[in-house]
């Protein structure tokens, strides 16, 4: 055997693959273990053979960025190995995600809890931006939560670097509800500010316990956004009417955030409003956000281990584990249905979220070359 193949198979032997725990658009995720320590891991198996252009772009992005990133608030890629026609990413195992926590009606969030999740999100994001990496798909479902309560940015399948200034990028990124207006208007030259907008939407969602700007189509997304935050004026966002896909969607007055977020502190609303500034260049940066008075005012952020956590998570997972797999410890009847939380996720997503996301990936692929 070649040295390279041998090294690969040795890496492969370090991990065991157990039950299937979920399925994404381009991968199946299994629970597994590190053989030497028994440590629980997630193994994301990417189906390679189905792609006629070879290794899939999402997989490549995910591997490329996660290989370089090491931060408490970014999911850890422990290893990568290939098997005949598959690529396997070994990731730290994370129990749940922020979407499930938000949706769990039995949980009560204190302002200190929200502050803690926001701090962890901004820390992870500041690290990515410092490394010139845009995430481009921030949403509660991509903020995973470890058993010790640490929140981790995950799913780097749409990430890219932005070291090159003035480099044209696709605007078909970020799940619609978390997509900033500059992208909805077709801007191709954007920056770290796109991720900040998404974080603003997540911040609002943590307080509201329901998505803040749930547009039903791209056009409706603009309307929903402007209805909530007022139609931008030329003064507050110079030049926006010149963006490629600009369309007037009607005049909506500015209503104070206070009207909707009745219980929030002034600091909270001040930071929120700075994340949702229309003019991308005036939107707050991740580093600046971390220095915002909100994070220094009382209450102090909750300790991660004290954060609310779904209890039904474990049982949901247990059902999925049997799906199409052998689990010799489970004596119960076979469960052949699709993974419930996967389905739930899809139903709860905006109508064509998954479709538009795969389009984004496709578009990227056929992007015309710049001379």
């Amino acid at each position: 055997m070649d040295a390279v193949e041998k090294a690969n198979s040795e890496r492969q032997k370090k991990w065991t693959k157990d039950q299937k725990v979920g399925e994404g658009t381009y991968a199946v995720v299994y629970r597994g273990r590190e053989v030497s320590t028994g440590r629980k891991v997630a193994i994301k198996k990417i189906k390679v053979s189905q792609f006629k252009d070879g290794l899939d772009m999402s997989a490549i992005r995910e591997v490329k960025y996660l290989r370089e990133l090491q931060h408490q608030n970014v999911i850890e890629l422990l290893d990568v190995f290939s098997s005949k026609t598959n690529l396997n990413l070994v990731l730290e195992f994370l129990d749940t995600d922020l979407e499930m926590i938000i949706k769990d009606r039995t949980l009560v969030f204190l302002p200190a809890d929200i502050k803690s999740w926001m701090a962890m999100t901004f820390r992870g994001l500041e690290y990515c931006h410092r490394n010139f990496i845009l995430h481009r798909d921030l949403k509660p479902n991509n903020l995973l939560v470890a058993s010790d309560g640490q929140l981790k940015l995950a799913d780097f399948g749409l990430a890219r670097d932005f070291a090159d200034p003035g480099y044209k990028m696709t605007c078909q990124v970020i799940t619609r509800w978390y997509r900033p207006p500059e992208l909805l208007f077709g801007s191709r030259y954007y920056s770290a500010a796109v991720d900040i907008w998404s974080v603003g939407c997540i911040f609002a969602e943590l307080m509201l316990r329901t998505p803040y700007l749930p547009g039903e189509s791209d056009m409706d997304q603009l309307k929903t956004t402007f209805r909530a935050l007022g139609t931008p004026t030329e003064e507050e966002w110079p030049g926006h009417t010149k963006l490629p896909d600009y369309v007037p969607v009607g005049q909506f007055p500015k209503t104070p955030l206070r009207d909707l977020f009745t219980a929030a502190s002034a600091d909270t609303l001040n930071l929120l409003s700075k994340c949702l500034v229309y003019e991308p260049r005036k939107r707050i940066g991740a580093k600046e956000a971390l220095n915002h008075p909100y994070f220094f005012a009382l209450p102090n952020p909750s300790h991660p281990s004290k954060l609310p956590k779904s209890s039904n998570m474990a049982s949901t997972r247990a059902l999925e584990e049997v799906d199409g797999n052998v689990d010799q410890n489970v004596a119960g009847p076979a469960v052949k249905a699709a993974a419930p939380n996967r389905l739930k996720r899809k139903l709860n997503s905006p109508g064509d979220e998954l479709a538009s996301r795969s389009i984004a990936r496709r578009l990227d692929f056929s992007q015309p070359k710049q001379p």
């Binding site: 070649d2 040295a3 390279v4 193949e5 090294a7 690969n8 492969q12 693959k17 390679v48 006629k52 252009d53 070879g54 290794l55 772009m57 490549i60 992005r61 591997v63 490329k64 960025y65 290989r67 370089e68 090491q70 990568v80 290939s82 098997s83 005949k84 026609t85 598959n86 690529l87 410092r130 490394n131 010139f132 890219r160 670097d161 932005f162 070291a163 090159d164 200034p165 920056s191 199409g324 797999n325 052998v326 689990d327 010799q328 489970v330 004596a331 119960g332 009847p333 076979a334 990227d364 692929f365 056929s366 992007q367 070359k369 710049q370 001379p371």
Partner: protein, 356 residues
């Protein structure tokens, strides 16, 4: 915003608390070597390949390896260098951005620190490395378009090696490049108060040419991107280079100087494509000494495949037995499955595992 033109081993005072980004990279950790180490790696890869291939020849026909003139490590290196120079031609043809070209070149160099030319011909590796680089730098084109523009190449030529190349790179796709560091230096220079403004564009262009030449050398496997960039700037204009160093890294400017000089001479001596005639001789000899196990359709290749298939089959039936046994002691599929359904299930599971 630009990549900071930081010279490694030098933390700028403002970021001293945080590790400079480059120093946390896989490139810094896994892809830097001393010149001696590079020589050793190549020599031992070469020796190992020669012994394997010799054995294969002997197994096929005893005595047949004695007349074969195997390639030396230097000859292998020469051939790789030729194909590295071809990457640049192809990129010009496709009008790929510089990032793609530089990344593909790095992939080629890294690949041949894990593999030998006698196993994998650099022409094919080059095509795969370049295609992979278009994707990892986010400049993808369809495989079909790619291969249709390259004579005598079909998609499978590229795809067959993609996994091997990715594996050889350790799936470490991110590369830090000298041309970016150079750009950072140039931006810095423009903001210095006493920069002679007029010829700065020419100097940048000349320095960029030297960066391109450096891609034909081992520089990136030994030095940091900013060191290479500074050396290239120094080749274009020693005055500019020392001005930059004096303003950005005053305390280190002197200690760095010998390194910069070494890089400069490496680039001037080795930074050009090899003589085509001499490479042609090497390539001709390669045909006689390449590993027959890697030549699709050869006797040795078929023998190896058959052996692999036998092992896989063994594994499959072992797995099926295990599952059957497990089912007998405590049925994981429940009682409502018929015998046929269970057999189906076993097959599914075994196949699933098999493509692992």
């Amino acid at each position: 915003m630009s990549m900071p033109a930081q010279v490694p081993q030098i933390a700028s005072p403002s970021s001293s608390a945080k590790k400079p980004l480059y120093e946390g990279s896989t490139q810094y950790k896994n892809w830097r070597f001393s010149p001696e180490k590079l020589t050793r790696i190549r020599a031992s890869l070469n020796a190992a390949a020669v012994s394997v291939i010799r054995n294969t020849f002997e197994a096929d026909e005893p005595g047949s390896s004695s007349n074969v003139l195997f390639l030396t490590a230097d000859e292998e290196h020469l051939l790789v260098k030729l194909y590295i120079s071809k990457i640049s031609q192809l990129c010009g043809h496709f009008r790929f951005p510089e990032e793609v070209e530089a990344t593909a070149v790095s992939y080629m160099k890294r690949f041949y620190l894990k593999n030998t030319v006698m196993d994998w011909h650099p022409k094919n590796v080059m095509l795969t490395a370049l295609f992979l680089a278009t994707k990892t730098t986010n400049n993808p084109i369809s495989l079909e378009t790619y291969t249709s523009h390259i004579p005598k190449t079909i998609p499978s030529d590229v795809l067959d090696l993609e996994f091997l190349v990715a594996q050889s790179l350790g799936f470490e796709f991110a590369v830090w490049h000298a041309h970016r560091a150079l750009w950072g230096i140039w931006l810095d220079l423009q903001s210095l108060p006493d920069t002679p403004p007029d010829q700065s564009q020419d100097i940048y262009d000349t320095a960029t040419m030297h960066v391109r030449a450096s891609r034909l050398t081992d520089a990136e496997l030994i030095y940091s991107p900013s060191q290479i960039a500074l050396a290239c700037m120094s080749l274009a204009s020693p005055a500019f280079a020392s001005q930059w160093a004096g303003s950005k890294i005053p305390s280190l400017a002197d200690t760095l100087q010998p390194t910069i000089e070494t890089i400069k001479s490496l680039i001037t001596q080795a930074g050009h494509p090899p003589d085509v005639e001499s490479v042609r001789t090497v390539d001709r000899r390669l045909k006689l000494c390449k590993n027959p196990e890697k030549v699709v359709g050869s006797k040795a290749y078929l023998a190896k495949k058959a052996e692999e298939e036998r092992k896989a089959e063994e594994k499959r039936s072992r797995k099926a037995d295990e599952i059957r046994k497990a089912m007998e002691n405590g049925d994981p599929f429940g009682d409502e499955l018929s015998w046929q359904e269970k057999e189906e299930k076993i097959k599914e599971i075994v196949d699933e595992d098999d493509n692992d």
